[in-house]
């Protein structure tokens, strides 16, 4: 298939790398409503890029502009260096996998997959061979004579993928590729999809509202809200180093509290909040007295029934308000003296000695966290 232009695993970090897709100042308005507002984005060859956001955030509109179904109100889209704005969908080097799969109900699996190749006037034997190979890849060879309505949801999803991939597009666009599958199948298919992408080397742009899907699949994620990118980065960057409150809150869960900077040291900041005075490892200088937000992920807080000894700078006590027992871990809602509720998740690493042992409602607990685990947000 297409040879990767760069050999690097992180092409977005290289100054001279040429992006495969360049989105420049693109906006899309529907009447008064701005679906996409002046966004810039570079996507590189071989990436599995996720556009992540809630419904109505503009992610699907952006994808449809890449496919050519919507024309940008302003801005430019380049694919492999070619301006795409005036190129109709049927001449673009992109293929799309639709959320509803959009399989042709009057054609067999084989004919569905061959449809795109026929349009390109590919010779008959070559069509047969390529269809055969792609159906083998998605493990659907024995179903090639079936009609879409005779297949299960997971099989249809794979037909849709095969139909889009068989044309060997430069870019494969996937609109909520796993949304129609049930949970078990979705988890299994996530890895399959990533594997296939690795095998064929085609650049994938995936739209999803499911953060877990985005985290497991992608090389990079763009978090969208209200038609704008809130942050673009690798899954780790987005999760551990969110740019703002929206991203911190949208990806995973986080205890976010407002606070005032009371001390700005050379490698730390002290912030006064409802969690007490929070000590944060922070290199950059922050103005004393300025308003900031402090975010701590629930799994980064240690919880214990006994006083762990005042080792670190960040510790506080509270009462257990509610418990969610999930088996492999538990979620605790702890009420502090200030009235603030803190979310804590704790893996159940040790099996309790008896059936009734463990932390229960109204227990007094000690919370502590590392100053390196706290995220300081200024918007």
């Amino acid at each position: 298939m297409v040879e990767p232009v760069t050999t690097s695993d992180t092409p977005w970090l290289e100054a001279d790398a040429e992006p495969l897709i360049r989105i420049k100042g693109v906006s899309k308005k529907f009447g008064d409503f701005t679906a996409v507002n002046n966004v810039d984005l570079d996507i590189y060859q071989g990436e599995l890029f996720c556009l992540l956001g809630g419904s109505g955030c503009g992610k699907t509109t952006l994808l449809r502009m890449l496919a050519g179904f919507e024309t940008p109100t302003a801005g430019q889209i380049f694919i492999d260096g070619v301006d795409m704005v005036d190129v109709p969908p049927y001449e673009r080097p992109t293929n799309m996998m639709f959320q509803s799969y959009a399989l042709f109900p009057h054609m067999t699996v084989e004919k569905n997959v061959a449809f795109g190749l026929k349009q390109d006037k590919v010779p008959k034997d070559e069509i047969a061979e390529r269809v055969h190979n792609i159906l083998k890849l998605v493990e659907l060879e024995e179903f090639k004579k079936r009609k879409p309505q005779q297949l299960s949801g997971g099989q249809r999803q794979r037909v849709a993928l095969a139909r889009a991939l068989v044309k060997e597009p430069k870019v494969l666009l996937l609109d909520e590729p796993l949304a129609a599958l049930d949970k078990k199948l979705r988890e299994q298919t996530q890895f399959e999809l990533a594997n296939i992408q690795e095998q064929v080397g085609v650049t994938f742009v995936v739209v999803t509202h499911d953060q877990e899907e985005a985290m497991t699949l992608s090389t990079r994620i763009a978090v969208m809200d209200k038609g704008e990118f809130q942050q673009i980065g690798t899954p780790t960057e987005i999760y551990e180093f969110p740019d703002n409150r929206f991203v911190a809150d949208f990806i995973g869960s986080a205890n976010i509290v407002e606070g005032k900077v009371i001390e700005d040291g050379s490698d730390y900041v002290l912030v006064s909040t409802d969690l007490g005075d929070v000590h944060i490892d922070h290199e950059d200088s922050v103005k004393e007295g300025s308003q900031v937000w402090v975010a701590i992920r629930p799994e980064k807080i240690q919880l214990s029934k006994t006083d762990p000894g005042k080792s670190g700078p960040n510790h506080i006590t509270g009462k257990v308000d509610d418990i969610g027992y999930l088996g492999e871990m538990s979620i605790y809602l702890v009420r502090l003296e200030s009235g603030q509720i803190v979310d804590v998740t704790s893996p159940n690493q040790i099996r309790p000695r008896t059936k009734s042992q463990g932390i229960t409602w109204e227990d007094e607990v000690y919370l502590s966290w590392e100053s390196s685990s706290v995220m300081l947000l200024n918007k």
Partner: protein, 303 residues
């Protein structure tokens, strides 16, 4: 106990729901058809009713059965009937095709229009039904006549000097049939297209198909059920049409409905008229039954 009673009642209701339309069809379709069939096998007689009886009870005991196939033989021998059947089929096939050519884009346009426009356009399609069918055909006579609205207008504009003959020929019959049966083409097509998934067109375009190609390879095959339903709804009544050829075609257009009426009313030859009707019914029902049979097989294969 109660559940069993309920189930019993349910099955009773189911029977009633099926039986009522069955009886209706039996009484008002099948029974009349057998009467017509029986008359078609009788002989003309100057009497009231004007045909011979099929069963002769005179000698008592087992009745004698008289079946006369002369009427059918006559239809076969006199080329007038053959030509008239053929001409009726020709006119209804061409009319159906014209209805399809005009109705398809109209239905497509209605499906694609906004919610308010859609309601208005659908209303416009049904609106003609609010006026009597006969009145509307008379209106066409006024439009198409030598001294009619269209000719007068064309002469007034100066496009023509002499009126164009548009009434009392096949052209007028085509205009009448296409006009009258157009809603029967548009409505089933609309119902079919409304269900069509628009993303299929996008998918085709995405896979490299140009709009015309998408139409012939995706839209057209998927609207085939609508095309067939609409075409049957136009073709069947158009073949037996009587009023339109009589009023707009004058004496110049041979159509089986008019011939049937002539035999029945002017010649009072009920047996021959019945034979004409039976042959017409077979001509229409046979292709439909064959189509339904294969359609049923196809859906069975898919399930």
């Amino acid at each position: 106990m109660l559940a069993r009673l309920l189930r019993k009642m349910q099955s009773k209701w189911r029977t009633i729901v099926i039986v009522i339309p069955f009886i209706w069809l039996l009484l008002f379709f099948l029974a009349p058809f057998f009467i017509v069939g029986k008359i078609s096998l009788a002989e003309l007689k100057i009497a009231s009713p004007p045909f011979t009886e099929m069963f002769d009870w005179k000698d008592g005991g087992f009745p004698k059965i008289r079946l006369v196939f002369d009427n059918y033989l006559y239809l076969w021998e006199d080329s007038l009937y053959f030509r008239t059947y053929l001409n009726s089929l020709k006119i209804s096939i061409i009319s159906t095709f014209i209805c399809l050519l005009i109705g398809y884009p109209i239905a497509y346009g209605i499906v694609r229009s906004g919610p308010i426009t859609k309601q208005l356009l659908l209303f416009a399609v049904i609106l003609p039904f609010w006026t009597s069918f006969l009145l509307r055909v008379y209106a066409w006579m006024g439009l198409l006549a030598d001294q009619g609205t269209i000719n007068n207008l064309l002469i007034w504009i100066g496009l023509i000097d002499e009126p164009i003959r548009m009434l009392y020929n096949e052209f007028a019959v085509y205009v009448g049939i296409v006009y009258t049966y157009m809603p029967f083409m548009i409505l089933p097509l609309y119902a079919n297209m409304e269900k069509l998934d628009g993303t299929l067109n996008e998918a085709a375009a995405d896979l490299g198909s140009k709009p015309t190609n998408t139409f012939f390879n995706v839209t057209l095959p998927l609207t085939m059920p609508g095309i067939i339903a609409g075409s049957l709804l136009v073709f069947i009544p158009a073949t037996g049409e009587y009023v339109i050829p009589d009023l707009l075609g004058g004496g110049n257009v041979l159509m089986i409905g008019r011939l049937l009426f002539n035999e029945f009313s002017a010649n009072t030859d009920w047996p021959l008229a019945s034979a004409v009707a039976v042959v017409l019914l077979i001509l229409l029902v046979l292709p439909m039954t064959i189509y339904q049979y294969y359609q049923g097989k196809a859906t069975e294969a898919e399930a």
